[in-house]
């Protein structure tokens, strides 16, 4: 991305003004104003900021409401507590282990539970948290049971025993700064972009070559690392560890901080933590039931300002318009001539209904094949089977001699197959450029390159002027165009299009036909599902007609209209 410095006529604050002012105020408060008690509260705020930054990764970016985050915090806390107070180990040994323990736990439990739908995932992770709490309370030999373990040593950094007060606050906030910087760069980079797409549209993410399971597991495990680090630091601050660190209030606080501060944002986590940890100080009369205030703040935020405080600040001080990158053609992918996709004997049943029955087809490089048939004849299922969204019951899908039948969508996508969907789905919160660049995340080295290549794909379809518009604002025809650009950006050897002309005007159809011809001329093999014969027949070099999952016709487009079986299928008569 280019950083063009322009002198605007109005006063614009530099990019980092908000964050800079925040850091300066916080530092000034800590150095000049805060009492020892105030510093202690500030230290706790740092601990929660670190935990919430981790939560932003799994919940904000990844979209998975993990209620095990408090448990990871507690596991980190107990690791430090047990090793420090019972074995007398120092920070240099306990801290890495306090990160490692929740990390390993997250990998272990994440593999099964991350496959679950959102509410299942949330409640399954809550179950995990309850099991960990039960274990801690009921293993007094190891954890001290309900009373916990006293006598945890303080932080020992390179031989320096960090005293309480300003030094400890500085150390904790140092970890916040380091952890925040790491999370921020990850969120802005390829990984964060990919994770956001997995959150918004896991189906599309898979077909764009992104390994959804691995991205989610990575986010979950990384969030556990942050939680463990925060838990360890909290025990060094308290000098005791008790089941309190595993109880629901920790989880609730982290959730409230992330939502109130602003989902998915590091600045939101820090702002939310500083604010919410100090709130009980202002509501002293509630004593230990300060969580009522958290509950109310959480409810008010989610109802009134779902973007959180940082979202509100963004609305007050809108970020400057970004500058378009320079379009760049991605490195050419050699597509060999001849058959690029061979499908043999494909079969799929849904509960006794044969949706696809012994379908075979061959796609040659640089050709357009039409796939027609009445509604429910199995056309979309064929595309879903080839792109890996459904597993075939039988049959082979050969790309460059390799059988991809039953492989994951991302593996199939990486083998050179791209697709579009009948119901276009683009991430609502993203700009067109970001949406198309998602197709390049798996290939390119960075976001900048991905966006340059995305702009190239948009230019090829005459849609570069849409680049900075939000996807949510686009009319249906342009959404189809953007989705096609996204598939094209993958430079596929095989492109599967599911009713690309649906809802387009005649002029738009003619333009689309031109684009499809150009794509084929560059070597890509196209398989086009379409109802509009006037659009498809002049375009296709070869046509397949399906009826009730079986191939009814397989030949040149000219013969379709005169084929008795096809006519009968379309007119609803009994197939011969």
């Amino acid at each position: 991305m280019r950083r063009a410095l322009k002198f605007a006529p109005t006063l614009t604050l530099p990019r980092w003004a908000g964050e800079g002012i925040g850091v300066a105020v916080l530092a000034a408060y800590a150095l000049l104003y805060a009492s020892p008690y105030g510093l202690r509260v500030l230290t706790v705020a740092g601990v929660y900021a670190l935990a919430a930054i981790g939560f932003q990764i799994v919940f904000g970016l990844g979209g998975a409401l993990s209620l095990a985050h408090g448990a990871f915090f507690g596991v980190g806390a107990y690791a430090t507590g047990i090793l420090g107070s019972q074995l007398g180990w120092t920070f240099a040994a306990t801290f890495p282990l306090s990160i490692l323990a929740p990390f390993l736990l997250a990998l272990l439990v994440g593999l099964p539970v991350l496959r679950l739908e959102s509410h299942y995932f949330a409640l399954a992770t809550l179950g995990i948290a309850q099991v960990v709490l039960l274990l801690a309370v009921n293993s007094p030999g190891l954890t001290g049971g309900a009373n916990g373990l006293p006598g945890v040593p303080g932080v020992l950094l390179f031989g320096w025993a960090v005293p309480r007060g300003l030094p400890l606050a500085a150390v904790v906030w140092g970890f916040v700064a380091a952890g925040g910087a790491l999370a921020w760069s990850l969120a802005r980079g390829r990984w964060g972009r990919a994770l956001t797409l997995v959150r918004d549209d896991p189906l599309a993410a898979g077909t764009l070559g992104l390994d959804v399971g691995r991205l989610r597991l990575g986010a979950f495990a990384l969030s556990a690392v942050y939680a463990g680090a925060a838990g360890a630091l909290s025990v060094h601050t308290q000098r005791v560890v008790s089941p309190e660190v595993l109880e629901f209030p920790v989880m609730v606080s982290v959730l409230a901080i992330a939502v109130v501060g602003g989902r998915g944002r590091v600045a939101g986590a820090v702002l939310g933590a500083v604010l919410l940890v100090h709130l009980p100080e202002w509501f002293r009369f509630l004593e230990r039931s300060y969580l009522i205030v958290y509950g109310a703040a959480l409810l008010a935020t989610i109802v009134l300002a779902p973007e959180g405080l940082t979202g509100l600040l963004d609305r007050l001080f809108p970020p400057r318009k970004r500058v378009l990158p320079v379009a760049k053609a991605p490195p050419a992918v050699a597509i060999e001539g001849g058959p690029v996709l061979l499908v043999e004997g494909l079969r799929k049943s849904f509960g006794g209904v044969r949706a696809v029955d012994e379908v075979s087809l061959t796609l040659e490089a640089g050709t357009i094949t039409g796939l027609i048939g009445p509604n429910g004849s199995g056309k979309t299922t064929v595309i879903n089977l080839i792109s890996g969204l459904e597993r075939p019951d039988a049959g082979r899908i050969l790309v460059a001699g390799r059988d991809l039948a039953g492989k994951r969508p991302d593996r199939i996508a990486r083998a050179g197959i791209a697709r579009t969907f009948q119901a276009v789905s683009l991430p609502e919160g993203a700009t067109v450029l970001e949406a198309v660049a998602a197709a390049r995340l798996e290939r390119d080295r960075g976001v900048a390159a991905a966006e340059a290549h995305a702009l190239w794909a948009l230019e090829r379809l005459g849609a570069a002027d849409l680049a900075l518009r939000p996807c949510a604002d686009l009319p249906a025809a342009l959404r189809r165009r953007v989705e096609l650009a996204r598939a094209l950006a993958r430079q596929p050897a095989v492109l599967l299009l599911d009713e690309p002309a649906a809802g387009l005007t005649d002029a738009e159809k003619a333009e689309l036909a031109g684009h499809l011809r150009a794509i084929a001329a560059a070597g890509t093999a196209l398989l086009v599902v379409e109802h509009d014969m006037g659009f498809l027949l002049p375009l296709a070099g070869h046509v397949l007609c399906l009826d009730q999952g079986r191939t009814l016709y397989d030949g040149p487009p000219a013969g379709v209209r005169s084929d008795a079986a096809v006519v009968a299928a379309y007119l609803g008569e009994d197939a011969p």
Partner: protein, 304 residues
Amino acid sequence: MGARRDHQTATDPPVTTLQLLINGLALGAAYALVALGFVLVLNATSAVNFAQGDLVMAGGLLAVALAPLIPLPGIALLPVVLVAMAALGLVLALAAYLPLRRSPPVAVFISTIAVGIILQNGASVLFGPEPRAAPPLLSGGTVDLGGLVVAEQSLAIIAVAGLLIAGQQWLFARTQLGRRLRATAQDPEMARACGVPVTAMILVTFALGTAYAGAAGLLLANRYFVTPTAGGDLILKAYIAVTIGGWGSVPGAVVGALLIALFEVGVSSVLSYPVALGLLYAALLVILLARPQGLFGEAARRRA
């Protein structure tokens, strides 16, 4: 977190398997009310009401608070608890569901977590953290069933919960209101097109689900006590019941709740309550892995 079972003491006579079974059925009947309320709201709104466990706790503490004012057996408190909790259900729907019905499902999940936090901590301000007991439904004595001595409370819980569940079945199957409620649960868009006041039906569903949670609180709060933090375990159990029974299945939720309670009572009697709870959660994870469609097979709903 959560209420602890009142453990068998050495002076009690030995408990037979049949007595355990009746205790388990009583506990299961109360859990069934919780799960039923949860699944009714789930079907009507596709929203997970995370506050359901805390609503049970609120109903229990409401009964505790009412007991000195109404010096009658606990059964007399039931109508008051049902009405007051139904009103709370309306407030819940108005504050935490209706403003978010167009938002992603996770928003309602979070808003009901927030309501749960407010209830839990409000309760601990009002009642303190110690466990409280509500009055027994009848006298609190025992009944001799042909040589088998059974706690009267257990039988009363089974009877009351059974009547409430039967009442819900009758309401949904036989009345015009029930038909509208079912239409709303099946397909809100279609129901609206057919002239069903969908928003009103959702409010009724929330009121009903919350009233049943409150009733469960009254039923549970005598033998098992109630603490402000009891909701966490209860929502998990309701959720496990619904998962076992098949997500969205009403009879499945009731059967699931009974199975959970029998498991809990059985394992607690041999080992201990924490072990039973731990095994229950472990079993949940195994079920989610092996049969995400529930034990009785409902449409599987996984992430793609």
